[in-house]
Symmetry: C2
Subunit: 360 residues, 2 copies
């Protein structure tokens, strides 16, 4: 079997999970769902598919230390800190250079650090087939998540022609990348059975993705070439990140490549998936009491319904006569938010940071 | 000037201020309003009226240590711990024995430990006149608080004939002790100008109150006589509290004596007064923001109105899209309660205690 690599994208700041998430302790370093950090779960999920010594993590410079503390199985040199975030295309380019430097034609998977997938075996089976596809053909492979509700929060992949014999699983051409739809369109997508959520999981080989970048985003490709050459000159990647990385074009991989590339294929998921993008999503993963209250950590409710609480170990959140609230405790800050305002948590965190920069 | 004593009644458990208040840290040991513990404020307020060496505190055995830690100016021997609470009449009887043992005819004031009075000078002036009255006549002196709204939460004193020349201030006979009224009656009381809140502040001399107890509650008086004799035999009050105190009749001073005694007089307050009986009362003592939010400790509000928060030093409570909530943070428990449910906080605290006895 060929060498396979995984590059985990762990650059998010996760302000939507304030006050648990902070600059130095973002969502992927927290046990938002489950008992260990989301990143640790992501790494554990790869066991048997890709060995730890072939896992890279791209995070930001500030979080690097916390990443290594939280996931001690990672090899320190393989945790790369971005001096500044330059969106996903630059990170994908960096990932391609990293893998290329070890095995120039090895396929690698790009995976988000902070998603919930309970069915690890199902995930590995689909990802394994995605590796097969990327290894057998000069294509860009994506994972399409079978939608379970008409989400307006995700982009979609429109499934086209099925390609036979590429892998042990069915592979389809992706006809189109679709932006987040309105509710009516989302319903049509769901009913058609032809649209899949774009989970931001990709598999390809370095020369394939770098060539596509050159074709569709030549300015970024030039920047990456400069990074590669500076790295070769200096000898240490860390030393040249500060120098070149901040000048890379800031653009998402979807805009830069995926929506324009010709040979994009898709593996359909048959595992569960949740990107848990904001506090209310947590409630999907824990049992509710008879009044619809969900407690992560210790909680007590009296005359209370439809609430969600998050408490650190040893702390108890007690609710009385309240409805549809999200209550999140942390050591130095507590948030009480109506569920309808969950998308404003980021703005609240920024407001708090103006008064108390130490809480961001 | 004669010796004057003060006995502070600090026996409350303050469950209505959970999760800040606990068995060992009740309301009077917390800075519920202001920056120091309510008991410390009560003691400070007496400066210039009665010296600290003539202040007794009756608390419960469990809180005794915390009382001394919180108010180090108190003389340890003068902080008496009840082995069990026996309601106010027993505590008043104990207070009378304490004062009598030092100066058998000295007037003493009985004061609650946890009320808010900002106008210390006004308070001392009224209390001084109350001492004069108690020293010049075999009467029971009460303080009547001029009502500012038709409260249904307090008992009332119905003012009768004015007695001239007793003290520097006007003294009136109390015609009647009135139980907590309904709203309609409370409005009539307020309009009449003849009814005053019974704040539970009394001044009298030991022989006067003990004689009234003998007359109206002979069983309690017998118990107190036994306590006095045992104390004299053993020589140490602390050693005989366990033995005799638990068997004293459990009855309030209002029922036991005040409602039945003939010579009860009243001094009218002209100072502010608030017994801050539950969380919402705190909002009366702090400025609100334009949306009616009141923060004790640090707080931030976005799209939030009419809320009250309480946070310990260094902790920040952030509100988003919520209305009319009470949010109280403590190190190991957080409460979120709708204002309409403030009177149920005690029940909530008891519910929590069933799961987590350490939080009571």
């Amino acid at each position: 079997m060929k060498n396979r690599y995984v590059v985990i994208m762990a650059g998010g700041r996760g302000e939507r999970f304030w006050p648990q998430s902070r600059l130095k302790r973002p969502k992927h370093l927290l046990p938002i769902v489950g008992d260990s950090a989301m990143l640790a779960q992501t790494i554990d999920r790869l066991e048997g598919l890709v060995p730890t010594e072939r896992i890279f993590v791209i995070t930001n410079e500030e979080q690097k230390e916390s990443v290594l503390e939280t996931c001690p199985s990672l090899i320190p040199k393989r945790v790369i800190g971005e001096p500044v975030g330059r969106d996903t295309a630059a990170a994908v380019g960096l990932a391609a250079l990293l893998v290329e430097s070890e095995d120039e034609n090895a396929a690698f998977a790009l995976l988000p650090a902070d998603h919930v997938i309970e069915d690890g075996a199902g995930f590995r089976s689909v990802l394994s087939a995605a590796f097969e596809a990327a290894e057998s053909d000069d294509c860009l492979v994506t994972i399409g998540i079978s939608p379970t509700f008409p989400s307006t929060g995700y982009g979609y992949l429109q499934k086209g022609e099925e390609l036979n014999g590429m892998t042990s699983r069915s592979v389809s051409v992706v006809d189109r990348f679709v932006e987040k739809p309105d509710l009516e369109k989302a319903r049509q997508y769901l009913d058609s059975g032809n649209y899949f959520w774009n989970a931001g999981m990709f598999v390809w080989r370095p020369p394939v993705i770098l060539k596509e970048m050159q074709k569709h985003t030549p300015s970024l490709a030039r920047g990456l070439q400069e990074l590669k050459e500076t790295w070769r000159e200096i000898g240490s990647l860390a030393d040249c990140m500060d120098k070149v990385y901040p000048s890379l074009e800031k653009i998402s991989i979807d805009f830069a490549v995926m929506e324009k590339a010709e040979r994009v294929v898709m593996l359909e998921s048959d595992f569960d998936w949740d990107d848990v993008g904001e506090w209310p999503a947590i409630a999907r993963h824990y049992p509710a009491d008879l009044q619809g209250n969900v407690f992560k950590g210790e909680g007590v409710a009296m005359d209370a319904e439809g609430n969600l609480t998050f408490a650190e170990s040893g702390h108890c959140v007690a609710l009385l006569g309240v409805k549809d609230l999200i209550v999140v405790q942390s050591e130095d800050a507590t948030m009480v938010c109506h569920k309808d305002y969950a998308q404003e948590v980021k703005a609240l965190a920024q407001e708090v940071a103006r008064k108390r920069p130490d809480l961001s």
